[in-house]
């Protein structure tokens, strides 16, 4: 029986992290160059962790499947990053950020982690500014902030609508600085395909050089997975084409538990799907809801253009249903509300799955210039994609899969259930509970990467024992396993490309394990996914050459893991017999259609153990405790 120990330090919540820091073991400066750390993924979490550890003097190898570390999908984050600095003088504090995050996550996250996140949020802004990140400024030259969903303060720092890009380039430049200093080495176009365990401890990885196809062994004293989230399991999502679950899934198959996999975020403001050919969905930053008003026509038979519909015939459904937060209701609630009005036949656009996001009033009140300064690049992006001009006609938006709150289970030290294997950023099950608030992902990735994992990995390496060489039999056995899997994909020799299977999986997941779920649908989904998986392994077509750049092989390999993840998500959604945050079970709702939690049975983290291709996964629970915040029904009314 696996015992999940979160290793939370004792003492008052304000002091826990300092207590941990004061006690942890250190590696002396002279000995650091002898310690090797492997980092998988170079997004905000991976780059910041790699740069920080390298700057301390450890030897770091960073791997990314993209052609440059700068292209990791953190680059696409738009709206901003939260920090409890209270520059807007609203009485904001670490406690308030803690409370907002706990409540926003519908009370399904760990108190001690969230408090630490709120504490570290302030340092992140300072760090980024020191790197030259050009945050927006007020007229006097001080940092500007704005508001995001689910909160009543303005604690979000931003660089136009490209905050993720600027933070990413800051972390990337810090990493390149360490490459220049000789402490870090970057392996671009390399994909991790397995973690190597020796006596149950992570000692290295097997990666594929995507250009030559060579399977390489890399040994390390610790391995950090910063490989991002898995919402591409839905096929269409706001993630990048290459975003995948492979690194964490292979770790899961080796014994790392996977926590709350069904907690996925469907983001309310995305450009609606327009056709079957579509390969991804594009997010429009939540920051737009600061000034944009969300509405649909009151009549399902409405045929007029939006500008011609009078005020009285517009249904501002977020403002009416959630007067306190209005258009800035949290993401899970805003998404479900959009789905509900569309289910009622009020949706707009060609497919009827869309709602208006209207800037008419904001432009009238603040002027076009102000709106352009705040959101210019987002408006440009929208008009490039749709051909519409959002300054004149409302945007059309609809929810789309965006973020995975679930991920590898980690303790307070961000270590998985495999010693020596750490998971940070979106790859871990994280601090966001069952729903992430806007502008909190950047905060968490950078808290993990700059300020937490460098210390916890250092502490671990003081007792990790002697490094194991790549000539160890465990490396050979794991490499064999990887090569067998690749050969199996190529050898299917069918005539359906991976994209087709991926699309079919996505349709099942979105329909039955998406915005709303129920037991019947989830059970059906399990059967359907197994059928798709069987067909995948009997009719897959992959280009034959494995010792060369082979994108069809890369894709098929990722889809093979998504198929397995999809099953686990359905198991998880079935087990959580309640509604909370992004997980909405139709059997459990309040009379007015809000999520109905069951704290007595489900105030816990469900961490799943892999039991082989044939066996059913086994759940393990980590009970959550609430000593610093009272469990309460979430209300944004």
């Amino acid at each position: 029986m696996i015992k999940l120990d979160a290793k939370i330090p004792e003492g008052p919540i304000e002091d826990k992290w300092q207590t941990w820091l004061d006690r942890h073991s250190l590696v002396g400066p002279r000995n650091r160059a002898g310690k090797n750390v492997i980092v998988i993924g170079t997004g905000l979490a991976g780059s910041s962790a790699a740069a920080s550890l390298a700057a301390e003097g450890f030897r770091v190898k960073a791997f990314c499947f993209q052609d440059s570390p700068r292209r990791a999908h953190s680059i696409a984050a738009q709206g901003g990053i939260n920090a409890a600095k209270d520059f807007a003088n609203e009485g904001d504090s670490v406690r308030r950020l803690f409370v907002d995050t706990m409540k926003g996550g519908d009370f399904r996250s760990r108190e001690a982690n969230v408090w630490r996140l709120a504490q570290l949020s302030e340092n992140i802004i300072d760090q980024a500014v020191a790197q030259g990140v050009p945050f927006n400024r007020e007229y006097g030259g001080s940092l500007a902030t704005r508001s995001f969903g689910g909160v009543l303060v303005q604690r979000t720092f931003y660089s136009r609508g490209q905050t993720g890009q600027q933070l990413m380039l800051g972390a990337y430049s810090a990493l390149q600085h360490q490459v220049a200093a000789g402490n870090a080495e970057v392996f671009n176009r390399h994909e991790m395909l397995d973690v190597v365990l020796v006596d149950g401890v992570a000692r290295g990885v097997i990666v594929r050089n995507l250009v030559t196809g060579e399977i390489e062994r890399h040994a390390g004293d610790a391995v950090i997975l910063a490989s991002g989230g898995y919402t591409n399991v839905y096929y269409l999502s706001t993630n990048a084409m290459g975003s995948n679950v492979t690194a964490i899934w292979r770790a899961h198959r080796q014994g790392a538990l996977m926590a709350n996999p069904c907690y996925t975020q469907i983001h309310p403001t995305c450009i609606p799907q327009s056709g079957e050919y579509q390969s991804k969905l594009t997010l429009m930053s939540e920051s737009l809801r600061n000034d944009g008003r969300v509405w649909v026509p009151r009549s399902p038979d409405e045929t007029r253009t939006p500008g011609d519909i009078p005020e009285a015939e517009r249904y501002y459904f977020l403002e009416e249903r959630y007067p306190a937060f209005g258009n800035l209701a949290p993401r899970d609630i805003a998404s479900r509300a959009a789905k509900t009005v569309c289910d009622d036949g009020l949706g707009v656009g060609g497919t009827g799955r869309g709602v208006y996001l209207d800037f008419r009033d904001a432009i009238a009140e603040h002027g076009r210039d102000t709106i352009e300064r705040k959101y210019g690049n987002l408006f440009d992006m929208y008009s490039k994609i749709t051909g519409d001009d959002p300054y004149r006609t409302p945007m059309m938006i609809y929810p789309a899969p965006h973020y995975a709150m679930g991920g590898l289970w980690v303790d307070y030290e961000l270590q998985t259930t495999i010693p020596g294997l750490f998971a940070i950023g979106e790859a871990n099950f994280s601090d966001h509970g069952a729903n992430r608030l806007g502008a909190s992902a950047l905060m968490q990735t950078l808290a993990d990467g700059y300020f937490i994992v460098p210390h916890t990995v250092t502490d671990y390496m003081t007792r990790s024992g002697d490094a194991v060489g790549t000539d160890d039999s465990a490396f050979e056995a794991t490499q064999d396993k990887v090569e067998t899997h690749i050969a199996a994909l190529v050898d299917v020799g069918g005539s359906t490309v991976a994209q087709d299977f991926h699309q079919r999986l996505g349709n099942v997941m979105l329909d039955k394990c998406g915005l709303a779920r129920n037991a019947e649908g989830l059970t059906e989904a399990l059967g359907e996914i197994r059928r798709i998986k069987a067909e995948f392994w009997s009719d897959l077509r992959v280009d034959p050459g494995v010792e060369e750049l082979n994108q069809s092989l890369e894709y098929a390999n990722r889809v093979s893991d998504f198929l397995e993840l999809g099953e686990l998500m359905c198991h998880d959604a079935l087990r959580h017999e309640e509604s909370c945050g992004g997980h909405f079970r139709e059997e459990y709702e309040t009379p007015d259609g809000e999520a109905l939690r069951d704290d007595e049975h489900f105030a816990k983290v469900t961490a799943w153990e892999y039991k082989g291709d044939e066996g059913d996964p086994v759940p393990h629970d980590e009970q959550l405790t609430f000593e610093n915040i009272k469990l309460a029904t979430r209300s944004y009314k």
């Binding site: 910041s48 920080s52 700057a55 993209q66 052609d67 440059s68 700068r70 292209r71 990791a72 999908h73 680059i75 696409a76 520059f87 340092n123 802004i125 300072d126 500014v129 020191a130 790197q131 030259g132 050009p134 945050f135 927006n136 400024r137 030259g141 001080s142 940092l143 660089s159 136009r160 490209q162 890009q165 600027q166 990337y172 810090a174 390149q176 220049a180 671009n188 250009v211 990048a240 084409m241 327009s274 056709g275 050919y277 390969s279 991804k280 594009t282 992006m381 490039k384 994609i385 700059y450 460098p454 005539s495 359906t496 490309v497 077509r541 280009d543 060369e548 750049l549 994108q551 069809s552």
Partner: protein, 257 residues
């Protein structure tokens, strides 16, 4: 919509490439150029023919991975990234030529995929502020006028796609390098390393084999982020200062150091 595609195929870095013609039919005008290529690849797969390799990731114009040359223009006709180029921008029935970037410094790996690691090495030469993780000063203790922030940001938005290099008749990377130097050298945080940064990055650019700038301006016209030629002027000024600072100073100054 229907199109005839003339596409560059090249099996590996050291092999000869050639153009191959494919026809695609029934394409939705709102499909992106890359989604059109996805459909072609799905068909090639069904026909058990090798798919066409091309880079893409975010498909929303920010990661800088996509890198096609469409009808002779890097990214395509609209001065947006390849991924944000839509089939509605082409005439139905048109013949479209698709190539990789053509630059000795960004060599072809396969088909339409090129190696852009030279750009990473230019950043490595000085495209950063030498700070490490740890306690930092209060950011409001160093006010930055919104105008300066805006100018820095206009340069900082570079996505590193390399279209500027592909567009330049000399294969120069000065728009890319100028954008990073402008971003960092305008900000107070960038001042201590200001001179070395420009000097070292330009030297690295030369070492990689990028060409010199002779003011064609094609780079800025191809740039999906519309980065202004002003950054090249800034780069030149900063480089001159940097080069001057490298020369030995008066003897008294040298002793003082």
């Amino acid at each position: 919509m229907n199109f005839k595609l003339v596409i560059w195929r090249q099996h590996g870095p050291d092999e000869e490439g050639s153009f191959e013609t494919h026809e695609v039919a029934g394409i939705d005008p709102d499909a992106s150029f890359l989604e059109m290529l996805d459909q072609l690849n799905a068909r090639l797969g069904r026909e058990k023919r090798p798919s066409i390799a091309f880079d893409s990731d975010c498909r929303e114009g920010i990661c800088g991975a996509c890198s096609l040359v469409i009808d002779g223009t890097p990214h395509g006709p609209q001065q947006v990234t390849s991924c944000q180029t839509y089939m509605r921008d082409f005439v139905d029935g048109a013949t479209i030529k698709v190539e990789p970037y053509r630059s000795n410094v960004l060599p072809v790996i396969r088909d339409l995929v090129v190696d852009r690691s030279a750009l990473d090495r230019v950043i490595e030469a000085g495209g950063f502020i030498s700070t490490t993780t740890g306690p930092q000063p209060n950011p409001n203790a160093m006010p930055i006028a919104p105008k300066v922030q805006e100018q820095a940001m206009d340069a900082a938005v570079c996505i590193g796609c390399g279209a500027c290099v592909a567009a330049c008749p000399n294969g120069s990377a000065v728009l890319f390098t100028g954008a990073k130097v402008t971003h960092l050298n305008l900000l107070p945080q960038g001042q201590p390393e200001r001179e070395d940064r420009a000097f070292n990055m330009v030297n690295q650019m030369d070492e990689e084999g990028f060409g010199g700038c002779t003011n064609f301006g094609e780079c800025s016209r191809a740039c999906p982020q519309e980065i202004s030629l002003d950054v090249i002027g800034m780069l030149n000024r900063e480089y001159r200062k940097g080069a001057a600072a490298q020369r030995p100073k008066h003897r008294s100054e040298m002793i003082a150091q």
